[in-house]
């Protein structure tokens, strides 16, 4: 299963990197501009593999270029969210006491708001752009990483090797950064992989709701889905291919994440 996940991820990454070589047309080229009418949107054919969309773009080229947008949004959102979460988590886990109390209450408040609702609010507040989608998704992931890392660090602080290092006079900072933190990272890595999957879905969701790029020509899977709503009955292929791409990309990261969890998380071992 992990191989399938890894294969899917590798596939999408390669597609994203080599998009201009793979796609027969540019994402905003309209090779079928003359062919399409509101009632005639041709489906898959030998010339246009995934068919044409309502503006005459080549759907295949747009799905291919969409891989760039989705992976970029997913990765940037994840990195931002993870950075924020890890910072809070390290502070809480390292200092404990009052610092821990304050940070964890903030985290609790953030967690008490449904994720997608908060993301919508943030994205709406920041205005329509891909960047605000990234920031919105990052923010809802901050408390998840903060809580995860803090719990791990508190557990690791009680371990024998920390006591042993303390008994040798190693400074607190070295113990936290050199011993506790590296031992607390494996569940974070797992969570990061799984979060990539949800980030891609959430990014598509926010774009679908109209909070992503205001430019309808941007090849983004969620946006493509949103644009096809009116043509769902006459041109179902326009929903099928971007939808499939979202599912497969999310599936890839989920499968890999689950396997990583089995490998790294002692609770799943044996």
């Amino acid at each position: 299963m992990a191989l399938i996940g890894f294969g899917l991820i590798a596939f999408f990454v390669l597609v994203a990197i080599f998009a201009p070589l793979i796609a027969p047309y540019g994402p905003t080229d309209r090779p079928g501009a003359d062919v399409i009418t509101p009632t005639n949107i041709p489906g898959p054919s030998a010339e246009y593999w995934f068919g044409l969309d309502e503006l005459g773009h080549d759907e295949f080229s747009r799905v291919v270029f969409g891989a760039r947008q989705s992976l970029l949004v997913g990765v940037v959102a994840l990195l931002l969210g993870m950075a924020g979460g890890l910072l809070l988590g390290v502070l809480a886990g390292a200092f404990g006491g009052k610092v821990d109390g304050v940070i964890m209450r903030i985290v609790d408040v953030m967690l008490s708001i449904p994720g997608l609702l908060m993301a919508i609010a943030i994205a709406a507040l920041l205005g329509r752009s891909l960047l605000s989608v990234m920031i919105a998704i990052a923010v809802i992931n901050i408390p998840i990483f903060a809580r995860l890392l803090r719990g791990q660090m508190l557990a690791q602080r009680e371990s024998d090797y920390v006591l042993a290092a303390t008994s040798l006079g190693v400074r607190r900072r070295s113990i936290i950064l050199g011993h506790v933190l590296p031992n607390s990272m494996s569940p974070v890595i797992v969570q990061a992989t799984l979060t990539l999957a949800t980030a891609i879905i959430e990014a598509a969701g926010l774009s679908f709701l109209g909070l992503g790029s205001p430019d309808p020509r941007v090849p983004e899977w969620g946006l493509m889905l949103a644009n096809t709503q009116r043509y769902l009955a006459s041109a179902p292929h326009l929903a099928f291919f971007p939808g499939m791409a979202i599912v497969l990309a999310a599936l890839g990261f989920t499968l890999l994440g689950e396997r990583l969890r089995e490998a790294l998380d002692p609770k799943y071992r044996r």
Binding site: S159, D160, Y161, L163, A164, A165, T166, S167, L168, G169, V170, R171, S174, G178, H179, P182, N183
Partner: protein
């Protein structure tokens, strides 16, 4: 003022664990002992007798919350219990170091051995980079780790239990501490390795002139290594003497019981072992008489009423109302 001459002088040390809504637990209760340079002192007792807590208290490694530490620990003119934490961190590893029981969990699993050894050197000896690495290799070599340069790059899981304990001993000895506390250093190792590690400790202590506090439940180890022995039961020292005296003539029934429960090679095959009846789970607080009384064959009436005091005679200290007599057989 600390008495001059003793390197480590522990006086009336007590450790009480407190928890809201529960009765306080006196894990260590008025323990006093001294150790001098070049001397090996054994602290003996079964699980739960307070040996490890004593060592953690001396090192200042007990958590601050929920623990009350009393008494004095004199080292080098300072009372370690009143030193500010920053000073104490300087002393730990530099002047007093510790080796723990379980070499499997006492090394950081995700950091190479080399970094863990050099970390101590960098912390206390101002060594850096190549110099620290060289010193670490020498240390590993000294504690009998073959091919130290390769081992430095390896992770703890790539080393056997004995090798890991050697690495931990190397870390503890990195700054040539004057006191080494070894808390059951061989319990997690198999017998042949145990002997090697003990031999190593003995040698290192002899060469460096450090004082060794050896915490163990194994009287065999004490017999092979220690000069003086303190036997602890339920947080109090019940008998202290030089090794020869103690083994030749145990006076406290608990010491006698410990000695009697050691399997002997010269006993006939199939002869029964002689365990001490009961378990430390039946602990009585010392405030209501002798804590060992419920398990004691020599029990007399006062044992259940009054706490025996530690009586000092020229060759030993003893806390018992009805000790074993010199000519008495160890109770079977």
């Amino acid at each position: 003022m600390p008495a001059a001459g003793h390197l480590l002088d522990v006086r009336d040390l007590s450790v009480v664990f407190t928890r809201k809504g529960r009765r306080d637990v006196r894990a260590v209760d008025g323990v006093s002992f001294t150790v001098d340079a070049g001397e090996t002192m054994g602290l003996v007792g079964e699980s739960g007798s307070g040996k490890s807590v004593t060592s953690l208290a001396v090192m200042g490694l007990l958590p601050k919350r929920g623990v009350r530490v009393g008494g004095e620990v004199h080292f080098d003119g300072d009372d370690l219990l009143t030193l500010p934490p920053e000073r104490m961190r300087d002393i730990r590893g530099q002047d007093i170091a510790m080796v723990f029981q379980d070499p499997m969990s006492s090394l950081n699993p995700v950091v190479p051995i080399g970094i863990q050894v050099t970390e101590v050197l960098e912390r206390h000896q101002d060594m850096k980079g190549e110099a620290a690495r060289k010193a670490a290799a020498e240390l590993l070599d000294r504690v009998g780790v073959p091919d130290p340069n390769r081992r430095l790059k390896e992770y703890p899981h790539q080393l056997s239990g004995g090798m890991r304990q050697r690495a931990l001993i190397a870390m503890a000895l990195a700054c040539r501490p004057r006191v080494l506390i070894a808390d059951e250093p061989t319990t997690a190792l198999d017998v042949t390795i145990q002997a090697q590690i003990l031999e190593l400790l003995k040698e290192l202590v002899r060469d460096s002139g450090a004082a060794l506090v050896l915490i163990t439940h194994d009287l065999g180890i004490v017999a092979g290594l220690c000069d003086g022995v303190h036997v602890m039961y339920s947080g109090k020292i019940v008998e202290s003497a030089l090794r020869h005296t103690l083994f030749a003539e145990p006076r406290h029934p608990y010491t006698g019981g410990l000695l009697g429960s050691v399997p002997r090679l010269d006993a006939p095959r199939g002869a029964a072992l002689h365990p001490i009846p009961g378990s430390p789970a039946d602990l009585r607080p010392w405030s209501q008489g002798c804590a060992f009384a419920p398990r004691c064959a020599n029990r007399v009436d006062p044992c259940m009423q009054e706490t025996p005091a530690l009586e000092t005679s020229p060759d030993r200290a003893l806390r018992c109302y009805n000790p074993l007599r010199a000519d008495e057989e160890v109770p079977a």
